[in-house]
Every structure is written in structure tokens, then in C-alpha cells.
Symmetry: C2
Amino acid sequence: MVSPIDPTSSAFLLAENRNMPMHVGGLQLFKKPEGAGRDYVRQMYEEMRDVEEMAPLFLKHPHRSVKTGGQLVWQPDLEFDIEHHVRHSALPKPGRVRELLDLCSRLHSTRLAWERPLWEAHLIEGLRDGRVAMYTKTHHALVDGISAMRLLASVLSTDPDKRGMPAPWGAQPNARRSRELDKAEASLAGVPISALRSAMGITADAAGMPGALVKTITKGLRNETSSLSLHAPRTMFNQSITGSRRFAAQDWPIERLRAIGKATGTTINDVVMAMCSGAIRQYLLELDALPDAPLVAMVPVGLNAKQSQVASSEGGNAVGAVMVQLATDLDDPARRLSAIHRSMKDGKEALSSMTPMQILAMSAIGQAPAILTPLLRMQGIVRPPYNLIISNVPGPRSTHYWNGAQLMGTYPLSIPINGMALNITCTSYDGNMAFGLTGCRRTVPHLQRLLTHLDTEVTALEKAAGI
Amino acid sequence: MVSPIDPTSSAFLLAENRNMPMHVGGLQLFKKPEGAGRDYVRQMYEEMRDVEEMAPLFLKHPHRSVKTGGQLVWQPDLEFDIEHHVRHSALPKPGRVRELLDLCSRLHSTRLAWERPLWEAHLIEGLRDGRVAMYTKTHHALVDGISAMRLLASVLSTDPDKRGMPAPWGAQPNARRSRELDKAEASLAGVPISALRSAMGITADAAGMPGALVKTITKGLRNETSSLSLHAPRTMFNQSITGSRRFAAQDWPIERLRAIGKATGTTINDVVMAMCSGAIRQYLLELDALPDAPLVAMVPVGLNAKQSQVASSEGGNAVGAVMVQLATDLDDPARRLSAIHRSMKDGKEALSSMTPMQILAMSAIGQAPAILTPLLRMQGIVRPPYNLIISNVPGPRSTHYWNGAQLMGTYPLSIPINGMALNITCTSYDGNMAFGLTGCRRTVPHLQRLLTHLDTEVTALEKAAGI
């Protein structure tokens, strides 16, 4: 059955090109259950491959032809070939995390072909510590990072003894799962999808791009009285990108970040921003590429009930976007953290003075920069008002399992775009804060160095906080 | 230094799209030398990665901009990143040939990006028999399958004790290597490149496509008096293709094929064709897709001195193309072999009556079907006059080594194109005949079954020949 593709998903499909694949990724690490045999990963792979019934989301592919009047439509893949989508891979020796990140970088660099449903999953063996990795890749026209994570969570359990759980792409009769799947299809990073889509629809419909949304964004960004209108310096991240990616990821105990926040009167999110700021500062310093003016990050934040009045009528959670000055001009970690805390507070206050439509627009720019950034350029805003996006997505707090395999960590891979070569997304899970850094391999050389700098920065912040 | 791209290479670059990547591949299997340590593959990888100096062929990438007047040019990659090109991979357990072919299929499916030099090499560990595999992929604008093999051969030695040999992409001062590299750049499957390029140049120059070459081909193909003008039935192979590939490969002792040839008065090449014919017949029968009329294969053949007069003045070897009726309508292996032998003989005789320009044109169609097949269609020849290409490329006869690692086998991966979803290329090496089957994963389902059928067919031919 052929079905129409809504304007937002179409826009994601059409914004894509070889240098800018529009898929989100996820990397999960599992611990084999007690008594797992030598063949465990192959069995796990076969279980994931031999799903009884597929969820419809994973069976449709985009199609456009004379018959569809040149319109993009979803079409079921009548020759669906699951072995093309679910793959069994392995790491070369010594099987460190480094080899895993290399493989994920490579897998994240290739585009999903429209001729098939827009997803892939790779079960990866060969980690020397015996853990099993899974890298998944799903087009942004189907899910965003958050709904992909929810989709995963929907097949996990807190019960280590539970079995018979389907793969994330398997159809599941029970109600909870269906609800989750609906959510996955219906939510775009917490912004109620219908609201966002109607906003985006203004721009992405047949007539072409600019419209009311862009006017709203432009106005918001140019509003001199609000702390939204920041000047973001030009940096090496704000260039055209190539199609190859580098991915780096690591996690730190939330307890460490909480202690820093407690000692300094800041939030965990402030500490996350300060870590990123310190790491980016050090990275740019080493490359002799640190601008004098501080970098600006676009940070999606949760909205309260009043702010989210548009959103709440849709029943979803609402997310706004705050422009945060990262204080990368300051050498002292404590001063940097305190400046970030203030900037974040100012931004949230500015948000509260915005109209719901403005909030939605700010949110849309965070969720769909690849689509909206070119629009800003057309409106005479040559550079986006921020240098990179840093998201912090809360995940499950307790330990989860998939058919007895304990989920040890989960790391997001996001979408670098032209003019925004680095993306940092953090997710919390089971007491840890995971940082996923996705960048253009060429524009952001030696991306993995940021991990070392992040680690150095936690220690520096602890020291500054007197811990 | 920017340099122009000749019309043939440009045509290969421009003919490419997501469904039809235009790179050739090679799979080599090596045996570790005596006393190789656990870390052997990593060391081999590092040796290949840490080349002292790169051959210029592997440093240039295509580029087109306003500055180049919209023309495609070769441009050196000033930020060349060898870790992007030379990769270390591994197979999941149980590490059978099946897992290796799966990985090669996947690697062969992705396009090379123009933003970087057009090649990749993957050193692969994890085969359960301890062998080491190498998959390489090079754009057809740089080399064809034969020159890629020559390039490999140029860094191998018959001396198992020789060390210090460079990777195929490493620059090497010694004269032999330079000569081989020149050849690789200068030769397109044995057709003297300058002749082919001038012929192709007629079509691929600024003004667009059809020209004298197409007229010549069309005339040759329509010549009713020659056995060149065969009717090829429509088959499942002659459809539009998708971008995913399946690769299968296996080898058989040449001694077995020679014995069949000797007992039946046919050549080894005839036996190779008969194996392909029997395997394809069985494959199509099982899918209930065998046409009544016999399939026709385009087979490149070597030319003698008289025939190759155009060629010889260029100092290269000459290759012509023969249309061979595969007798897939015949059930009996012996009758099929004999029919193929006659068809091949007729084709060669027809070739000898052709003018040098006609031979060159026939040869060009075999070497550049992706470019020339659409031209035929424009000339009113709706279907190409053959169903698939079967090449048989002679390789080294003796055992070769790379820094002590014995080359056990070498298998070619070729280019399926729209209307020609299956390609069979054979290469001989060290007493074995290797068959490399490359097909569109969707258009040619269960491609690997052809290997079983090839094996059944050898046995059937032996029985028919009374061996």
C-alpha cells in the first residue's frame, strides 16, 4: 500500500546528499548472560534476523516516479530482504573500543539507499572484553535520535530472566510496544510531531522554502533584546563537510558530574556543557584554531507546562532551544562553568518570554538544522547563530536487559551538516553519562582527541570544585 | 597539480550513479608465512598503511568547479588520509568463506566518493583456516580489472624469502614497477588505451555521445552475414539494477578443465564457457526463468598479430570480443560444450573478417558496456546483443608471495550495469581457475547457488567426456 510522505520527512529525504547522509545512529554495548556459549553472538544475530513479523516502519521505502506524479511516497518493499538490513560483523584484533569506533565511523559514513527500507543493524563481535556491540542506523525521515532510543527501550526489560523479546524492528502484539512504536513514528525529539510538521510544512511544501516559520526564526534570532541573538564566531567546525564520518564515544559516572554541580551550585547539564566547552577549547588550542570570541552552542532544553502550551495540547513533551555561550575564551574551568551556568539561565529566561510559535521555531531549528540552516542563509543570516549543537537526552535510569544480555551502555551517533561539522549528543543510562561525538572526518581531524580532553576536564572541574 | 581527465575516464565517472557504482574489485587470499605471530595481520595492515611514498595514481581525485570551467579534472588530495583508504577488518565466527563473501558483497556495494582518491583496500582477518584476505576496490576511471591485477602482480615475488615489498599503492623506485604502473594507467583490459580512448573520444567528447564509433558498432552488430549478430533472448539478468551487490567466488584445478578439453577436442576456455552455461541453465530452471532461446555471452578474446594491427602499433596486447551462443537450451552437457566450441570458433572467424576499427569497436563495447550500451539503445538497438559478459583473464602461473605470505587465490569482482545484472570473470593463477561472480543483489537472487551449479557442471562434463 502506497502512503504519502509528510513534508518534514520529505524535507529530510530531499536535504540529503552524498556529503550529508541524514541518518541517526546508535551504538549499544551488551554483556553476554551467564553461561553464554561460544556461539552466543551468532545466535543473537539469528534471533534478530529471524523476526516473525516486521514493524511496518521498517518495511517501507521512499519512492518517486511518473506514476506518483513525481511526489515522494512510502511504498512497502515487496522483496524485503532482511539479510541486507541485519548484518553480523566483527572487529579485528586486539578488539579494543578503538576498533569498534573505527567500524562505527565507517558504517555511519555510507548512505541508506532509497531502493530499500531506510535502516540497518549490525551486530558486532570481537570486543576483547567479551561484550557484544550493536550499531543501528535509521533515516531521520523515520525516527530521530530520541525516538530511536525509545524504540530500543521498548524491547528491553529490567528483568534479566525475561526471554522471547523481539528485535527493535520486530512487530509486537502487546499494547505497550504499539504505544511506543506510535510514539517513535509520532515524535521528533520530543517536539510534538504534528505541531512541528505543520510548522515545517510551511517551508517544505510544494511552493518551496521560506515562509512564516523562517520569518519567526529570523525575528527571534535578530531580537537584540533577547539573549538569543548571540554572535557566534567562525570556527573550523562551520565549514562545508565531506561524506566521511568519525565517531567517538565514552561515558563518565553521573555521580562525578552531580558532585561537581552540587559543590558549585550548577546543574548536571551545566557540567556537561562545561566539559564540552573545556574539551573543545583544548582541541582548538592544539590546532591553533581557537577564536577570541566564545563559541555558542545550541542546546535543546525541556519546557515547563506554561511554555509548552502548544506542545501539551498534542500530548507530547516539549523541547525548546537555548543558545549557550560556551565561554571558550576563559582558561579557568571554574569561571567557565559559572559563565555557562549564567548563559544557560539567561537563555531559559529568554525562552520563557517567547511566544509558543517562537519556541516551536527555535526547537525546529535544533531538530532540523539541515533543512532550516539554508533558509536562514536565504534570509540574509549568513552564519547560523551557533557553532554546534549539544544535546543531552535522558535515558533509562535502571539496568536493562535484552533476552538476558545486560545493556552496558548506549551511545548516540548524530548528523553533521554543512556548516556544522561536529555534533555532541549525550545520553544518560544506568548511572552513566555517555558522550557521542559525530563529526566530518575531514573537517574535524583527530576527533577522538576530544575524549581525552573531556576526561581531563572532568578532573579539572572536580579540582576547581574542591572535590 | 591539476591535470585533465581523459574522455574515457570522464565517461566512467559520469556514467556512475548510486545503482551503478563503477569500481572493480579484487579479492586475494594469503597464507601466513611460517612462524607468523598472533599479531601478523595487524603488522601486515600497518605495513600496508605506513607506505613511505604513494604512487600518484592513488593520490588524485576528480574535481569539478566553477574554477575548472565545469570540467572534470584530477586534483591531488592535499589532505590525503591513508587510514580512510586502507582498513583493517574482521569476519564474524565461524569465519567461513561464506562470511568472507558476505563482507566483500557489502564492501563492493558502496560507492567511492569523489572527495577522495578513488580506491580502498581492506585487510581481513578471522578466516577459520588462518588465511588472510584482502579486498581492494578501485574506480574504473583509474584501472580496469586486468590492470588492477597487474598492479598487484607487480608487488609480488616468486621468492618466498623476499621482504621489503611495498603495498600495491606504494611508489617504488625500481624500473620494473614503474613500467607496470605505466601499463596500469595506460591499459584498459589489454586494448591499447590510446586507440580505445580515441575511439571512445569520438563519443565522449563535449558534443555528447553518438558518433563514428557507434555507427561502427551498430553496423557490426547488424551484419546479418556474420555470426556476430545473434539474437539474445530477454532474461532476468537484463533488467534495471539496484545498488546492492552479491559476490560469489570459487576455484577449480585447471588440470580438471584441461582434461575435459583434451578428451573432447575443445579448449580450456570452451570448458569455462560450458561450466558457466550449465550453471546458468540450472539456476534459471530452478527459478522457472529459462528462456527457450539460448543465452548469448560477450566474451573478450585475444587477437593474433594480423588482427591486432591497430593494436600492435601501440605496443599493447589486443583483445577482440566474440558473441558466443551458450546453448542453454540443450540439456546434455556434452552437446552444450560442443555447441559452445562451434559458436566460439565461428565468432573468432567472424572477428578475423572484421576491419581493425570494427574489432576495436567490439572490444570497446566489452570494456565499457556502461557507456556504450545506452548508445546502442539510442541507435535503435533496444537490447544489447548479449545477456552477460564472461571474461577469462590469464594470471600468473607460478606461486607468488607478498613479503613471505603465499598468494593462495585471487578473485575478481566486476561491475554489473543496468540491463546486465550478472558478470562472470575468471582468472587463472597457480594451477587454478577462479570464478568471480558479481551481481545485483536484488535482480540476481541467491547468486551463490551458481557456485554449486558450476561444481555440478564440472563433474557432469567430466562424466560426459568419459573421465
